[in-house]
Amino acid sequence: MMDADAGYVTEDGRQIGGVLMEMKNITLRFGGVVAIKDISFDIREGEIRAIIGPNGAGKSSMLNIISGFYTPSEGAVWYKGAPRPAMRPYEVARMGVARTFQNIALFEGMTVLDNVMTGRLTHMNAGIASQALWWGKARDEEVANREKVEEIIDFLEIQAIRKTPVGRLPYGLKKRVELARALAAEPSILLLDEPMAGMNVEEKEDMSRFILDVNDEFGTTIALIEHDMGVVMDLSDRVVVMDYGKKIGDGTPDEVRNNQDVIDAYLGVQH
């Protein structure tokens, strides 16, 4: 079923492409603490890849490595078949990696619209003079990007709160705004850190829908951390399981679900 280079076709008939990103033997240490120990796995183009594991397993740290916030102590991230050189997080973002955060990291002092617009900063490059005069390129860019952003706002159904400062929003909406901000960057790979934590089922359903649609409509590759097994099992194409820094499983939801190590370390009971 899985051809190493050409990708594969999922049960519901989606074509998954070749390897987009590959973690090779990643180890991460904080002082004496080993947060990640020699982990390797890959993410294919167009795929929804889940990372699961108990609290403190190193999932978020892994995401932080992918997005350049942490530098691995050993090992490297390969992107499109070549090792990615050491770079600052903003350069990683400019390569097309966007993400959301486990503890919401919105810009609290700004409105929803402005927050989502910041997601498009990577696409805007008018000069300071043009911006100061609100003339020429800056103005055109502003309008063009605003249109793009409005599309995303429509897509995520947050029109009504466009002009609200995000500080005032309830948790679930904040998560959605964060997703909007990430999507605004039009990333080739989207990293979601517990996008559905703190939501009820109805909201999780909505969020699932958005994730699936992003994946479908824009062909965005998605890596996702989530503790709700229902969501993980239903949405993801392949799952990596981490446990205290080690990889204990990797495969389709079904494979993982039946892996005894995974059940012992994480699931507790079979889901």
Binding site: P54, N55, Q102, M199, N200, V201, E203, E205, H271
Partner: protein, 274 residues
């Protein structure tokens, strides 16, 4: 057993409270609840429904967020507690575990737990005994007791927060989203602990939860909050059987559990008015 809590007297009563933030944002529009002594009461509802606000209104933590209770009253053991400061309320036995953990980052795990005993004056021995009890409930914390809380994982921080509350020897714990961000196994574990604390120590719990499924399995009684109003309440067992609750909060359709892949429409209509 499930209805154990319902029979006792009422410990905490919230009468028709209204809460306004920043003098302009009306969030609770008349919420009433009663929490029976010795029970576990769940406060359910979507994001922004006002669960956290309700809990903070009870524990008087609204003030520092520029919120205030403008109408209604909160009674604890028949006594009006609205004008007490949070510390006084803790002394009376009501303690809140805040949403999002809120550990003292720079204190060690053990120091965090010890701050829970701040209001107690019953001697070193009793406090040490309780510390031991918390470590018994959460062995993981014992392992990490010398680490700075800021560097522990999400689950560990949640345990610290709950353990810290227990250290005050509370009669009533207001627990805000204990399951958020926790691995499934841990969620069960934490609820198990809540249950055993409830049964063994007789502590009353009022818990706000998104995870309706688990909450209704452990609670005796539930309230559903939407847009600042209570829209439904009843025993946990009744709520679990309610078709709307099933569809919207438990994610079950008539045919059983739906796959998240199969949800097609974003908006569905509820049968009650909010």
């Amino acid at each position: 057993m499930l209805d154990a809590g319902r029979t006792g007297e009422t410990l905490l009563e919230v009468n028709n409270i209204e809460v306004i933030y920043n003098h302009v944002i009306l969030v609770l529009k008349g919420v009433s609840l009663s929490v029976p002594k010795g029970g576990i009461t769940a406060l359910l509802g979507g994001n922004g429904a006002g669960k956290t606000t309700t809990l903070k209104a009870i524990s008087n933590l609204l003030h520092s967020e520029r919120g205030e209770v403008t109408k209604g009253s909160v009674m604890y053991k028949g006594e009006r507690v609205q004008d007490l400061d949070p510390a006084a309320l803790v002394k009376k036995g009501v303690i809140q575990v805040m949403e999002g953990r809120h550990c003292f980052e720079h204190l060690t795990v053990e120091e965090n737990l010890m701050t829970g005993a701040y209001t107690r004056h019953d001697g070193r021995g009793a406090i040490d005994a309780d510390l031991q009890m918390v470590y018994d409930y959460f062995p993981r914390l014992k392992e990490r007791r010398k680490s700075q809380a800021g560097y522990t994982s999400g689950g560990e921080q949640q345990m610290v927060a709950i353990g810290r509350a227990l250290m005050s020897r509370p009669e009533c714990v207001l627990l805000d989203e204990p399951s958020m961000g926790l691995a499934p196994q841990l969620v069960e574990q934490i609820f198990e602990i809540v249950k055993s604390v409830n049964e063994n120590e007789g502590v009353t719990f009022l818990l706000a939860e998104q995870n309706t499924n688990v909450a209704l399995r452990y609670a005796h009684h539930g309230y559903i909050l939407e847009s600042g109003r209570v829209v439904m309440d009843g025993s946990a067992a009744d709520l679990r059987e309610n078709p709307d609750v099933k569809e919207f909060y438990l994610g079950m359709s008539d045919e059983g559990r739906k796959s998240f892949r199969d949800v097609r429409s974003y908006r569905r209509r509820k049968r009650w008015l909010s």
